[in-house]
Symmetry: D2
Subunit: 458 residues, 4 copies
């Protein structure tokens, strides 16, 4: 069965043009004029873009004594409703090692996912077992390894461990990712503020200042450079971190930076809200920053020093957040964004003139696919590409609200944002999986694992 | 008549993949597996890349009392032999204005060119006539206007003139280009060194230090930003100029920088050569710089803060250069590079690991086509694109020499460079116009004018 | 007749210590314990600092069709009441040249001044006469020449004129000063905003954005570096200008930057005040900036990349300002500050912890005297120095108000500022010329000309 | 007994002037014209400057299994012969803690020192004992605590330990010092190069690249800023480290940087010398750098972003160095410089025009005394100051050679440097302790401990 999409304007990272798109099975068979297929989908003058890729999610993540409430079922459907057709989630090894954890993650995703998914593997320590397992992980289609410089006593690795793992990445053709905050300082500042009686959510922001992120970013880059491997900094939230990235890139070092849609549009005043729930719902790491950092992140996206917009979707209910009443260090860290990333980025980025529509496609999809080495299977509208697309209608608008979202969380950090620019249709491997106003439903088990090959070893 | 190219690997700015390419007439009809055509061209395992675009040439340019010896006939054939299928030349208005000059330039090109060509228009003063003619120039397919901040008393414009012209560009959807050197300082330094008895070619370098370029670059960017228009800095040769560009981009300002292949690979010690001819042959503006600047330029290409590699091909014979014996300010400014840009960039950029093959395509072709608004007619291997391609064979090698070049100049600034990576075939709109070892000949009149539409007005 | 100051703590640029100060005649004779003199002045536990030096004033300046209302009589007395014992004013040559203008300025000052004074000479064009007169000006005790890059059609000089004058400065051992704004752009932006019907004082700010200042600063530094002479940028008001200064200093170039007390503490929202008078009273060039620039300037003072705090005191009455109703380009440019510079800097700089008391002395007096080559005659409390001192009492406080000021202007841009830290006594060459609460009066004719010798020629 | 120095020109950090200096006992009693004393010392037209202070020495330091061969006796006399009248040495606590180590160090110094001395205390771990002892150390006249970020497994402290110690410093009014290299990376790189069979001294340089220093410098500054305390980076050797310092200072953070005379004048090619001994004699941490770093350091001294020139004098004999034959990690780290710092800095800094004589005094003496809180007892020529002075004769010259040095080491890293500018006399607390050509001898036991009071606690 084939489908032709007609009446749309294709927006790719490199150009904008009008053409029909012929889908055969799960992939794009042809792009051109007057194509014919069994069925026709009318784009009604809207834009057709590659389906969004969110390279940074934590669905059902076990963390800080609880488990992120957003499930693979709800999260991936929320993603599709917002134009995102692929999520890349982080596998966190437990005592049984990387492969067991991967099995666990894969099991949950397979049963529930409506959207395609892929995995990053976390490296949370260092030993011969880590060294050996990394090769097997790569063999199973994972070419990215994540390292936490924070969460001391839990996920954090030290500089020597990170250097060892980065060298291993270089040998395997894998890309290291880094959560960059100085974990020693964060832990010490947390204790300091608690000791001073500052127990509310604002303490979270105070204990993770931008300097602590900038420092760790700078350090991670130096270590990667010494290991001879590129590096990808997740959730770049501050000018300090961006400066470190820019400075390295200006020396010819290959570094990538990933601002989140939250940091681009929300600021630290959220933590000063008098309602504990409101503030705690926004607790994530790095925290939202002073507004001045937003200019830096937006400029980075247009200048090319930052490449990707993600969400770090790791969503807990208000109930879960309340574990941290009286002690901000107990508030589960994480916010949502999977559903709203693309509409919010369009509204705040494209409609304001900061980004062109082509740049929008680049940072939500194409650049990510290239960095993750799955381009042009994903991230492109090209013959042979998976038919993952979003028919994006700049004339559709809504006000974001927890009341109407697909996510199962009871609040939304973008509550009240007016956005225009929404998916009219979302297609995943050729099928319409979201259709505005048509009562689309989740289809657990439809999503497929996307394996990613390693890069040539350095 | 159709042709299929088989057996090659397509290298685009965004990816590398294997496929056949079907050419029908002048354009690419299809890309895919097992394509069939009337004829087959065997790529023999080589790479297939979009034909190079040189955005900066001065063929037969009347300048400094003489005329550049490289003709449209010799220059465009030299280009094709080196993989460049489109040159963009600068029209310099005389007393009769822009339109008359355009006619003049067009006439020369039409008769002689083997490769396609397009034009930039120079703005060398300001008046109501300039204001009015700019609109007509845009209507004739030119969307770029060049401004000289140097060559005082000749081509140079002042800040108020530049600001007026930039605002006009903004209104017309045109992109201003700038030759950025402080002309007042250059003129004064020239007089100073001459007065001190320093008359040789090294005086050329001393009188145009990198600071003078950095200053003008910084100024041009400020003026463009005030006019609300992007700006393109031609022949960015120094860290000082690159720094100004980077600093602006980091604020979200749209600025483009164009290093030349000469500045990437040659340095100022050339001017200290004891042979006057050798040194004078290298006299161009900006002059070659201290080696340390090269690292800055290469890093800019990989970081994305510089986007384009050009040549500023403006080639005079040794005889012509000798007008400046005893007074370096009389040496006609200009060097060649049109024929060697791509081989030299491949050898010094890709083979050294500084640039990926995809980045090579981006900076020699794709980025340029996008900036000049002729993408994907040019700069791409996509269905519908002009079939301008180079079959690039990394195994072909040669030693560059004036003795064997297509250019009619009697020397070559890259003399003795060993390069591997050369065109096996060059195709212009579907025809093989250069074939390694097949005694290809110029075909004057074959080249066509490429018109370029304006951008949406700001 | 000798005087001993007892009971104070001496604050110098390099240290803080307790000692008596013996004054004999006009100079300091000794510093030490248990000194004896004919008279004793009790410092009552206050701080004793070198008298302030304001290196940038325009008393009775003929400008924009009128004359600054602050006279030499009122201005110098206002200065003394605020702890400033020396003002350096700008001589602006008319058609009769530099020497005639100097005579004119000197005449006015001599008759009226209560405080000591010195002169900078302005270079507002270039010719053999300028070249020749500069040497004579230096012989009369002026070692600084000011250049305006703005005020097109009036005071502005072009790059070639500036380069010529800077080279002359180098030869004479004089220091060039620069008002750095791109005059071409300012003039064009003024016309643009007027043409758009924006005629109010906010148009003044819009037509002189910080980028226009940053650009000119960068250019002035490049020209000075080419001329081989240090350079002093007056009224550095923005991060852009400060960045250019920092960048140059980091290369080892000798550049000085002078923020004004106004730019350190007031911001552009003043121009959006609904009362035309309020906004127009604040019109000066460069205009007040967005608050974010203040952090940059303060950091520059503590880091040493900016060295001096001045006022650019050029005060017009509200009546005079009203000439610009309906056309902001007619509003006489200038504000006051001579009386309030030191108290406001103490309140906003020292009491907030940004500057140490020693740094306060450095930027209000010592650094200036060194840069102007009159140290330690002025700017120091050392045996042999002129006995110019202020007995500064951090416990004295007041609310600044036009109602109570010594300046004859009918408003004060610092109106309502609460300051603590005020002169208890001000001494000029050994005499108490201001005594808090003692009804001190101006003493026209008491002030003396301070001649300044050139530096060794470069 | 009093002495008058006549016939000299006093060079202070803030000015240059002619005067006599009257010394009574150990201090300066008066400065002025026509002073009289029991004895006269004729400066013979030379310059009189405050005695040099070397803030960074390791005399008889137990390190890497041996003990630095330069003794307190030889080292302090070498210092005096080169114009340095005060050395500040690092006490390294052993198992018995800080106070015991201080006693040990003090004992050795007291018996042997010809010059005055003072101590820094090292913090090489963290515990309640460290917390408690720091207060007692401050009470004994030490206001500076040193932290090593390198020498893993030996002296190195982690980020949490450093943060704890820095906070303690803040509370005690002490200044933290930091040896900034990433110890994890250094250790891993050492193992990597050894494993690759690279065992010679050049491996030392490769395993400690400038990036490793820049990273640690950046981190130390962040931690100090979080602790609310200024920080002093010892032996700043690279643009990377200097950049981190500059960047912080430009935000208003109080950071000091200390280039060594070695890094200002020697470069990494020394390690490529074919003679193992030659290379090993130069092994120190950080290692000498690529020449390009020298420009950065010199510019920092003139711009004020670096404040101090030291030596890190830690001198081992060639015999001692040979322990590392076959394994560069065993070569005792350290070079000499105490004797040559001032002559070499004068020759390479002042005579080349990079520094003024006043800046020379600032960076060799005055700034150091201010930072260490012993100004103007030391670092100044002022009434009441200790009579530590050097009569500096720019006309005296020599060629530096181990054959003629006072140091007991058998080589000299500045061997062959021609310097002009040497001490004619060195005075320590009023006594001539070095007299050019007069066969001056060490006077063990003459040197006194200089206690330094804490700053006001933050
Ligand atoms: Zn994270
Ligand atoms: Zn995450
Ligand atoms: Zn040019
Ligand atoms: Zn050109
Ligand atoms: Zn001004
Ligand atoms: Zn002024
Ligand atoms: Zn050290
Ligand atoms: Zn040391």
């Amino acid at each position: 069965m084939s489908t032709v999409i007609k009446g749309g304007t294709i927006v790719a990272a490199d150009r904008t043009y009008e053409a029909d798109i012929l889908i055969e099975g799960e992939t794009i068979a042809a792009i051109g004029k007057d194509l014919k297929g069994d069925k026709t989908l009318d784009a009604e003058g809207a834009l057709i873009m590659p389906g969004g890729i969110d390279p940074h999610t934590h669905l059902e993540m076990p963390f800080m004594g609880t488990t992120a409430a957003e499930t693979w079922e709800s999260g991936t459907f929320a993603a599709l409703s917002g134009g995102t057709t692929l999520v890349v989630d982080f596998v966190i090894p437990g005592p049984d090692g990387m492969l067991a954890a991967l099995e666990d993650w894969h099991g949950k995703a397979k049963r529930q996912a409506s959207a395609d998914y892929s995995f990053h593997m976390c490296v949370t320590g260092w030993s011969k077992q880590h060294f050996d397992e990394m090769e097997k992980v790569v063999a199973r289609g994972i070419n990215t390894f994540k390292h936490f410089m924070a969460y001391k006593g839990a996920l954090m690795v030290n500089d020597d461990e990170m250097f060892a793992s980065f060298q291993r990445c270089a040998a395997l053709g894998a890309l290291p990712l880094v959560h960059a905050e100085n974990g020693d300082l964060v832990a010490a500042l947390q204790q300091k503020y608690l000791a001073e009686g500052l127990t509310g959510p604002e303490g979270h922001a105070y204990s993770r200042p931008p300097e602590v992120e900038g420092e760790a970013t700078n350090r991670a880059i130096m270590i990667a450079d010494a290991a001879g491997v590129p590096v990808y900094i997740v959730h770049t939230s501050s000018e300090q971190a961006h400066e470190a990235i820019r400075r390295a890139r200006q020396k010819g070092i290959r570094v990538f930076g990933e601002p989140l849609i939250q940091h681009l549009t929300l600021d630290e005043t959220e933590y000063f809200n008098r309602q504990w729930d409101h503030a705690a719902q926004r607790v994530m790491s790095p925290p939202f920053r002073d507004k001045s950092h937003q200019d830096s992140l937006w400029a980075g996206l247009s200048a090319g020093s930052l490449q990707v917009v993600a969400t770090d979707h790791c969503a807990f209910t208000t109930e879960q957040k309340r574990v941290g009443v009286g002690n901000f260090t107990k508030i589960p860290n994480g916010t949502g964004g999977l559903e709203d990333r693309m509409p919010v980025l369009w509204a705040k980025g494209v409609e304001t003139g900061r980004l062109t529509p082509n740049e929008f496609v680049a940072v939500t999809s194409t650049n990510i696919a290239q960095i993750l080495n799955i381009y042009p299977q994903k991230g492109a509208i090209l013959p042979g590409s998976d038919a993952d697309m979003v028919v994006w209608d700049p004339k559709l608008s809504k006000t974001i609200s927890a009341a109407t979202q697909k996510s199962i969380i009871d609040y939304n950090v973008f509550e009240g944002f007016k956005v225009s620019g929404l998916p009219r249709y979302t297609l995943s491997r050729g099928e319409v999986v979201w259709s505005e106003g048509q009562n689309s439903q989740p289809r657990p088990g439809r999503g497929k694992l996307v394996e990613r090959r390693p890069f040539p070893a350095v």
